[in-house]
Symmetry: D3
Subunit: 255 residues, 6 copies
């Protein structure tokens, strides 16, 4: 099974963190293929960046092409997820979505714990996009500056554990999700210090992508996620243009 | 990995259907252990039967004892699920829950298609229990009598496919869930005749139980799903009494 | 008028408290018949215990048999209520339901004040089951150990009054409900010390049961609360088995 | 026990219907005191009329003065209810409120069946005001002209029964409420022809008013329903002005 | 363009504040016509007063008669708004409605900041009436006594600014609305001291009334806001009676 | 006053329709500056296209630069709106947002009537994004093929009027919104044939943009819509990169 692990951020170190934590959760036969955005911002953190980064995620999926059993958009906030689900025939899973739905099987309400308050409104709107407001106790974000996005999890480990414990004590969280992508792998290190189940989004996403790949649901041919008909484009990245114009099919693509 | 497939109904033929469809979705190393209720009703279909069947599910989990990596309560409607999640240390997944959360990764809104209108109010309340009202287009139930619970999927295959197509056309479902337990295995047979992804609840549940077993979240030691303290009981089935009274621990149980 | 006051807990002292407070609220002609669970736990406090206790409540209703004008399931959290409403032809009222609906006529939002944090998640889910989330300011629970379930109201009177006042000041509660069953009778003692209307659940439940008995609505013959058709059972308590199998009718029962 | 049955419409025949049906549901010792609006419209049916009629209801309550144990605002839609609850020290119950809350104890979802489509938006907003949207399957209104408001229940009996049956079959109503005031007494006549419990709002309201009178909750001294402080007024009906200016107290009123 | 600025309170000084702030926001060609209630209370602040004040607002609109392009009901809480929208053919805008809808274009969530806790429950119900619960972070009210309604904005300027800043810091408000009518004009004075956009309700209302006047939507001839048919009345203010009885039309009114 | 009318579609004819209808609604002193996307698709109609088109809208706003008092993103569905509100200091209004909020002042519930079923899921998610679900009766879309996007309003005028009438009769819409951009100007032509107020989104948007420009709210300096701090970018369109990197300020920009 071949799963695309798509990081819509330009920071390769974050892709490495994602790959390492994702790999640990993967089944023996699963090949995880990492891919880092070549354009965009180092780390998507606002609505505007998610708008841009989601469009870049679509470009990357188009460029990666056929041959994957499933793909993961590996930014908590799930930029471009619903558009990708519409456009491509293989299953696409979001980091936030996978983490939240997995958390739902471990308790009635989860808390999202993260390292920067800038992320909170975007994450908040992601919870609403997935219709999971009643399952979420809210978002708790550290309000401290940090050195670098790729080391934030080591630098802030203790503060994040304290925050997770607050989410349990004050917000009555049954489950804690440590997000986003730069915290990949942290859950495993700190789970003994947090008294409720702790979710690592990329581990959850790899398992959920495998599940969709195994269940092999047919691509929608009706409803709101069927592939849109061909449409002319101007000035878009060539692989994405090819997908929207349906030129991929002429090339024998099974995308 | 050892997963308990617990059928809270007394009909062994339904357990066989569940086992066959669950087994097909399981990973190579997974051992699926079926268990049929020794007391209760042939097929849980109403609120009263779910109340009783949920209590029986707790008895069965207590009796099955330690040694499982995860358990599935294999009745759509998830009788006893939240109580089980509270009481036992291994992860417990519900058939409805697993099907609905998996469906959420394939579209914005799913429809639940089933074979008897008697089931609809119970399923409806199950959707509310999981807080997924905005993700569900509703429940569509056949209103035709059938010969037997264990053959209903063969007898009503065409009618169920028609109903699923109605759910797509009229209710704008992005995904269809064929439920409950007696329809186990049907999704795979009919998926070409339904133009959106089709979910088989037991296949989804086996994969989700595996996922929780692999992620190995620690049992909650705080929050609303921590194990309740010991409490005396009167007249309960012995293994369940032992769990509630914490006598299992004295016997070296790891439950 | 004959009303069954069913305590699904095994503690007879709690039944006595319920009876005393219920009796004070009853109309002159009302005969209140108390009944204590013969099996189960001393005091239902968790989801698992509610699952079991609800099934026991159904057994008790079946055993009590015909001849009642209405019944009260006298545990806040209403274990087994919806199943009972489905199965039996006489009206059945829950303690939480009666208290909350009565509170709705005295203000826009009520607070549930109780003596143990263990009860909060169960009560919370009960509010959701009744669709009254927007009418409830939340649940405030004491977090102090207590000597015995039957004396907790005396021991913690002052602390509960302080908590009720907090619910008014901080949560903007218009009405306070003192729950569950072990607090029966407390409302009357402390109402002068709480500056909003205070509800005693069992007093409300007795009055609401009388109301349904007087209005004499016909048992549903359609819809989701019609009595289910006969169904075979295995290993259930005999009176409940008789009800589910419709053997009660053959015996001329009017249940 | 003395209960004020306040009809905020100017049609005395409707008051008579309300009194007759209310009287049948009342307890032996209850004295029901009818009162018909001296100004306003024959039958409140729109938002504008409810705005005016609610203000008139407050005038009537002020005029009726002290000496009542409880009052009923006997127009479905509950004009002036929340203001009355704020202003007066005796309990005040609305016709819609009492009917809907009583219906909640007989099934999960009720339908409101009425005789004119003009009433639907006002009733709809009343359901929202009480936060009962999830308990209501909607409003079904006859769309036929009728002779007179005081005979509409006789003239349209069959059509209303058909509509109630539609509410059960198509909307899955567990309970039917026959409203508003001009249908007082109809429920009892037709309940055999509707296969779910049928609520007569005035019967429910009389019983609920009695319940509040018996439970004797203290008037709120804090929270959003405490009596507002004294305030000068200009040009209001004298008894209402006296209440708002707190001149009633100086006269030894216990209102 | 001629816009009626209707103050349903009897305090002329508040009308002057409203006029001054409204005038500053008005387009060059707009004539703003102020009107102060001749009966009622100095300042509407409770549910009961809103019930009465809303009826008075309808009387005032009827009395003002034809010749206006739009009207503003200038009390935050929008007393009588929906009834007015039903009854009259020119557009009618509420102060709260205009402020909240305008705020929605400047951020995802607004806070309502006001000068008295008495106003909070009424404002809260107004938010619900407009279905904007998810856009509102709540209501923050000063809890300090003040000298006079017409000077409260000067007296409490600093305290209100502090409160607005709290709404931003603690409630995560994207926008602040300074309400109600007695704070007209304050937003402009203090906007530099509040770090998010600040809305002056009357400025918003004047602009929204102009917008409706320019767009010239036709009065509804169907749906829930069509003008109700003629109906007899008793004892109502003559101009309002004329409107309800449709006697205005006979006089060539274009109302 | 200078308002940017930004069409994120590449079809210049649609920009012309928008400009013509927008111009008619504009105030005398308003200069409306049209701008058509140079890259993208002829007409945004799906989630994927909205993801891409929203990113293009941000590029266009950055390119247009300082000097505008407000901007309109003139595609119903509001692609890129929340990101734009975050990034730029002038007010930005969406076509859907302006239409829906304006409709809210003309009735309780609006219907969105459009020319293609492809648009419905995107519009639906836009309603949710704005939290207006309870104000919307749903989306009604023609299901007929059409010749060209720029003539569809003429070709389908009668069918759209029929659909709007259905929305009134069947869905109980109080207001109808004719959307999206290719229907600009149609509302005015057909309003006599639809018995409730009809909204032209671009007319509403021009007026709402003017309103925000007149009220001159300060750009948020706190909360979730403050401008994000500078961040490096790779491979983005130069003007947008300059905005995200805060290089625009160094050039004396007032953006």
């Amino acid at each position: 099974m071949k799963i695309l692990l798509l990081n819509p951020n330009t920071t390769a170190e974050v892709t490495e963190l994602l790959y390492a934590a994702g790999h640990r959760a993967a089944s023996p036969g699963t090949e995880l293929v990492p891919m880092t955005a070549k354009r965009g911002v180092p780390y998507i953190a606002t609505r505007a960046e998610a708008q841009i980064g989601g469009a870049i995620a679509l470009e990357m999926l188009a460029e990666a092409g056929a041959g994957f059993d499933a793909a993961i958009i590996a930014a908590f906030g799930d930029p471009g997820l619903l558009g990708a689900r519409e456009l491509f025939s293989f299953p696409v899973v979001g980091l936030a979505e996978a983490a939240m739905l997995t958390a739902c099987m471990l308790g009635q309400r989860f808390s999202i714990v993260t390292f920067s308050p800038t992320l909170a409104p975007w994450y908040d709107e992601c919870v609403v996009m997935h219709g999971l407001e009643t399952r979420c106790t809210g978002i708790r974000a550290l309000d401290e500056s940090f050195q670098s996005i790729s080391d934030v999890q080591a630098e802030k480990e203790d503060a994040l554990v304290r925050l997770a414990n607050l989410a349990v004590e004050r917000d009555y969280a049954d489950v804690v999700i440590l997000s986003g992508a730069p915290l990949a792998g942290l859950a495993d290190k700190v789970k003994d210090r947090i008294p409720v189940p702790v979710i690592d989004p990329v581990a959850a996403a790899v398992r959920q992508a495998e599940t969709l790949a195994v269940l092999k649901p047919l691509k929608a041919r009706a409803g709101t996620f069927r592939r849109p008909g061909p449409k002319p484009t101007t000035g878009l990245a060539e692989p994405l243009a090819a997908v929207i114009e349906h030129r991929d099919e002429k090339q024998g693509g099974t995308r």
